[in-house]
């Protein structure tokens, strides 16, 4: 445990001295928190929403909104769409941190002395992984709480705001978020083993944000209905995926492979 703690602290000391990483880690959550609040500020005070009736909305909205109807349902829909955007934060941040951390170790050739110590591969990966996952998850949670507080102040219908704390979104933020982070880290480890530029690793890893974007578009177009069942299935699938990806990340991160094949 001491080794993992030391790796996490070392990673943060190193990676957060990189201005680009610091910018990515702070700017994205800031944007994803502020932009929806900005939209809510104008939408919440708009008269247009008051005139919307249940008949004006697509049929899947009824399922999504439950007892919240009409313009309030529309508002709730907008609020929840932004929550899906929050899901990008736990994927992108750990990918950025892990990419810079691992490619950085490759280019400065610091892995060999590290691997010569009694530290295990799992300890290295857990340490490096948590160094990416912890700030990502904390940022997501803090961003979500700020967003929920902002929504509470800007949306007059408390039924809409209270839905933000439904088990559905609690699970999405507090369960799916960390699982997405773990996925991001494992992917970044595997990609970083093949490239020598952290920006390239980050860009390739970026492809894996697309499923989250797909979720956002899917709900927007009515193809997917993000409800509790969907989130539970998603969490289960991510759990399995995380285990598989971590296994492959450990395989890629073998001492022999790193020293003889990582170039």
């Amino acid at each position: 445990m001491e080794r993992i703690k030391a790796i996490i602290i070392k990673e943060w000391r190193e990676v957060f001295k990189n201005k680009f990483v610091l910018f990515t880690v702070s700017f994205l959550p800031l944007m994803i928190t502020i932009l929806p609040l900005f939209v809510l500020y104008f939408a919440g005070g708009s008269d247009d929403f008051a005139s919307i009736s249940a008949a004006d909305l697509p049929p899947q909205f009824e399922q999504l909104c439950g007892d919240v109807i009409g313009g309030d349902c529309m508002l709730y829909y907008i609020v929840t769409q932004f929550i899906l955007l929050f899901m990008m934060v736990p994927v992108i941040i750990p990918m950025t941190i892990a990419s810079y951390s691992i490619v950085g170790e490759k280019t400065t050739r610091t892995l060999e002395p590290l691997l010569a110590t009694p530290v295990t591969t799992v300890e290295i990966l857990v340490g490096k992984g948590l160094a990416g996952v912890i700030p990502a998850v904390l940022t997501t949670w803090i961003g979500y709480l700020v967003y929920a507080a902002g929504a509470y102040l800007m949306v007059s219908n408390t039924a809409v705001v209270s839905k933000l704390f439904d088990p559905l979104w609690m699970m999405a933020i507090f369960l799916v978020g960390p699982l997405l982070s773990l996925m991001g880290v494992s992917i970044a480890v595997m990609i970083s083993s093949r490239v020598n530029d952290p920006r390239v690793a980050e860009q390739i890893s970026g492809i894996f944000v697309l499923p989250v974007v797909g979720l956002f578009i899917g709900q927007m177009t009515g193809m997917i209905l993000v409800n509790e069942t969907f989130i539970l299935w998603l969490a289960a699938a991510l759990l399995v995926l995380d285990i598989v990806l971590f296994y492959f990340a450990v395989q890629v991160f073998q001492r022999e492979t790193i020293l003889s094949r990582w170039k």
């Binding site: 001491e2 000391r13 190193e14 400065t108 060999e112 002395p113 010569a116 009694p118």
Partner: protein, 316 residues
């Protein structure tokens, strides 16, 4: 300080990377407290050997024990017992010297970490720079810090891969002196180097490898085995009559006169020189002084490498 119990034993140690055999059937043993040199050209398998012995690479064949533990089976135990200075210092540039050592101290589970950091930073003259980022350090300072890192957990065996490579003469001298100090402490050191003068000066024994083992012995013994021992007689004037005088002795060979000197290969100069000196004086020689023609380790190395090349040409 050399103890007769071996701390490293390899038996037919082999490492292949696909079709390429980097290390082939290497059999050797290193005694406790010994400074052991691994010499060879680039690509000879020195670093691969060190990496196998440091439990970083898995051997393709053969066996090796380090500090009583088996490579491939007790790798974690081996890593606790050894310290490694790789070819590249591999330090975290944005961390300070102290943070670098503290991090590696945690990896080794060093308990008195603050004391150990102070001990080695002071020994290597870096204590006053401990809070500065390593990125601002000179190459020599980085190398010294990497040596401190390798010693932090007081390893039984220290692997130094090209410790003075790329350093200026002053920094090289400091590193060499530090290695000599470590030798005085009785620590086992495995040193790979291209600097043959350094190996000659520091190593108790050297192994010359080129994929496989070419020679293994103390530098002086290697010189004797390959070139024999040549005695130089400095005379007022050398002539063929005096050469003939020496050639009569059965234990003398390859006698030649060069300028005012006579060179002769003698089996055991310590015992046989007095007899030869008497014969020369009786033969009318005005002897000024007698010495031994000292071959450099470089000559031994080049001779061995030349034989490898000849062998390769022969095969082609």
């Amino acid at each position: 300080m050399i103890n007769n119990s071996p701390i490293i034993v390899t038996e037919s140690l082999t490492k292949r990377f696909g079709e390429i055999t980097a290390v082939n059937q290497l059999t050797l043993s290193v005694q406790r407290g010994e400074v052991f040199g691994l010499l060879g050209p680039n690509g000879a398998g020195k670093t691969t050997t060190v990496r196998m012995l440091a439990a970083l690479l898995i051997p393709s064949g053969g066996t090796a024990q380090v500090a009583g533990f088996e490579i491939g089976e007790d790798d974690q135990d081996i890593r606790r017992k050894i310290g490694l200075l790789p070819e590249s210092p591999g330090l975290y540039d944005s961390l300070s010297a102290e943070q670098n050592l503290a991090f590696f101290g945690s990896m080794y589970g060093v308990e008195n970490i603050a004391e150990q950091i102070q001990k080695y930073l002071e020994l290597l003259g870096l204590w006053n720079r401990r809070y500065e980022p390593v990125g601002t350090f000179s190459k020599g300072m980085r190398q010294k810090l990497a040596i401190a890192r390798a010693l932090l957990h007081e390893p039984e065996v220290l692997f130094l891969d090209e410790p003075t490579s790329g350093l200026d003469p002053q920094a090289s001298k400091l590193v060499r002196e530090f290695i000599e100090d470590l030798r005085g402490e009785g620590r086992t050191i495995i040193l790979t180097t291209h600097n043959l003068e350094e190996a000659d000066r520091l190593c108790d024994r050297v192994a010359v490898i080129s994929g496989h083992l070419l020679a293994l012995d103390a530098p002086g013994e290697l010189r004797r085995k390959i070139f024999g021992r040549k005695v130089v007689f400095h005379l007022q004037e050398a002539n063929q009559a005096l050469v003939g005088t020496l050639e009569k002795f059965p234990f003398v060979s390859e006698v030649q006169a060069v300028d005012n000197k006579i060179l002769a290969a003698v089996e055991n100069p310590e015992e046989q020189n007095p007899e030869l000196i008497r014969a020369l004086v009786n033969g009318g020689a005005e002897l000024q002084f007698v010495g031994e023609l000292r071959r450099r380790l470089e000559d031994v190395y080049l001779e061995l490498m030349g034989a490898v090349e000849d062998n390769n040409h022969g095969k082609n």
